[in-house]
């Protein structure tokens, strides 16, 4: 049997790993392929994995859409905070019959970077964590040094509430927070717990500013060589895995938030309307920059 190599940058427990495992189970049951999962970024970070998929050494990847935005710029759209009002809207948006999914399937194909989008899935909720003290209102971030990714949208978003942003690699975040180079950052809850960041940043604000849009994609080099039956089996497996991943993301987040208290973390509810208000002006501006004004309308009409 031929092997399908599935790469992801996270390690268990994580919704993407659960998705990968379900994908493996179904593909192996319904096709002749065996599936090998490479967790923990063993085969490289997401950008490197996309390059490898274009070359043909890796077949499938599961990860956050922001990480493949260097290849498909339209994915930056999902870096907008408070795009989805609630989980139901998010679920509807990731379903295969949604306009969002159809649109991005086409975008990924048009980008011609060797990827075939199989499914959209969830990767958990993103929250804000700090070492300096509890945050309940955007004003609490005024003048606070905050770590963001290198993306200019992230810098704008958090700069808008007064944070002084600095782009630090994720690998330097723990020590950066510990020594005080930065005192705030935003991440998934599982990232916060998995990298033991609660040890250095024991204040966790439930901003819930993003539900992490994630994708399961296949290398077109491999996809194009599949029989019709295998294509159907693999696409179905990816869709089921994606739904499972979204569910597991919700479940993990609930469990993890509950455990945070035992780990000595102060969890705060935030004035969400104030955060939403701060983020809103960027929605239209960025949608226009990205040429996605219609898509923004579509998302809004789903609420």
């Amino acid at each position: 049997a031929e092997t399908l190599r599935v790469a992801t940058v996270v390690s268990a427990p994580h919704p993407w790993i659960d998705a990968a495992e379900m994908f493996k189970e179904e593909v192996e049951a319904n096709t002749d392929f065996t599936v090998e999962i490479f967790p923990g970024g063993q085969l490289g970070n997401d950008a490197t994995v996309v390059d490898e998929m274009r070359i043909g050494t890796v077949d499938v990847m599961i990860g956050g859409v922001q990480n493949i935005a260097p290849f498909v710029r339209e994915f930056e759209f999902f870096s907008l905070n408070y795009l989805f009002g609630n989980m139901d809207v998010f679920r509807a948006a990731t379903e295969p019959d949604s306009e969002i999914f159809t649109f991005y399937t086409q975008q990924v194909a048009d980008a011609d970077v060797g990827l075939k989008l199989l499914a959209l899935t969830g990767g958990g909720t993103r929250n804000l964590s700090t070492s300096s003290g509890p945050v309940t209102h955007p004003d609490d971030l005024d003048g606070v040094r905050m770590r963001v990714t290198g993306s200019s949208l992230d810098a704008r978003t958090w700069g808008a509430v007064g944070a002084v942003t600095t782009s630090l690699p994720w690998t330097e975040l723990y020590t950066g927070v510990q020594t005080g180079v930065v005192s705030a950052f935003e991440s998934t809850i599982s990232g916060y717990v998995g990298s033991r960041l609660y040890e250095v940043a024991p204040y966790h604000a439930k901003t819930e500013h993003q539900i992490m849009m994630s994708h399961i994609s296949m290398a077109t080099l491999r996809y194009d060589r599949l029989s019709d039956a295998d294509r159907t089996a693999i696409e179905t497996a990816a869709l089921n895995a994606a739904r499972h991943g979204t569910d597991m993301g919700v479940q993990y987040d609930g469990e993890l938030i509950e455990q945070l208290g035992e780990r000595g973390v102060t969890v705060t509810e935030v004035d969400k309307d104030a955060f939403i208000e701060a983020a809103a002006p960027l929605h239209e501006e960025y949608a226009e920059t990205l040429g996605l004004t219609n898509l923004l309308e579509t998302v809004r009409s789903m609420h």
């Binding site: 490197t48 390059d51 690998t171 020590t175 950066g176």
Partner: protein, 432 residues
Amino acid sequence: MPPVLTLILSFLLFIALRVPIAFAIGLASIVTIFQLGIPLTSVVTQMFASINSFPLLAVPFFLLLGRLMNDGGITDRLLKFADASVGHIRGGLGHINVMVSMMFASLSGSGAADTASVGAVMIPAMKKAGYPAPFSVALTAASSVLGGIIPPSILMVIYGAFGNVSVGALFLGGIVPGLLVAASQMGYTYYVARKIGLRPEGSFSLCSMGRTGLVAMPPMILPIIILGGITTGVFTATEAAAIAVIIGLLLAMVFYRTIGIFALPKILSDSVIAYSLPMFAVASAGIMGWLIAYLGIARDVAEFITSVTDTRIGLMLMVGFFLLIVGTVLSPVTAVIIFLPIIQSIANSGGIDQVHMGLIVVLTLTLGLITPPYGICLLIATQIGEISMPRAFVAVLPMIAMVIAIIAAGVVWPALFLTLPWTLMPEAFGFR
């Protein structure tokens, strides 16, 4: 032949056939990729991916700093101070060698720069004073491993950054083993000097020690700025290296006035060559590391080690032994990048603290600088001392054994290394 054997055996074969190491790694990977039947473009993808990494920027900075210290006469001033402090003890020149390396180590993060600069002065001097050439070479090389142990250390920066371990805690943890290694080497020097009947030379004068100490003082504030800046959050460990370079430049150009503005371009471009050598090897090692992951070898090694033993001490000794072997052919940075994931998973499975594990790993891999066939410090020292590698190896064996003994002590008795970081950075250890 299984691809993993192709990879390892062809690599060793190419090294033995005098293929430059970076190219030997690349060629062995190309051969293995051919056997696997996958596209060769992965070679360049992984070369780029492995050096496209922010923490690696510390390497050029520390190497440039070493260069500035030599050209700026800072090394000379350290030598004079060491001479005034320990020159009068039996085996004086040997003690100076070790002490300069210690001071050098607190400024620079790498051992190779130390061997080259201190060795160029000390090896001829020691030979002239009657020390056996192999001993002079071995001591110079062995004392240079302090560069990677006494903070700052390039290897610790990289280990901490890639492995999410507190670099500050690793730095603090390096102080005691560094002092122990230096003390053991000075003790051994005393023993050798006594055995071959070398008389103490010169006499001690507090006055000249104070005078030379004063001149050598400014560069000694560098380590304080580096450690202080990191622990107070002004800059990250990587950024600290850049700041150290700026201060080093100021010292050499403004304070000592030993380097003129027109000498800078050459110093910069020479430094590029100096760091492109290890970094090009890191790039090549990236392909090998990727192939090792692709073939599932790292997982197999981890499974093997955990199947042999599950005690804390057993696991750490196994990891140490494995890395001692690995370190004979790979550079420490390369070895960390390839094996960090399995090292950390083994530490987790054995309930071993990541700072403790990191210290043991760094110490063990630093030994790779003086173990043949590829021990860069030993290579440089043998060239300066004009002796053959086998003779230098025999002479360096006792010093390797002493470092191993210190590592073993740190495995068995964690408090030996960890008391400092436990006390000064308790938060790096989470909830113990």
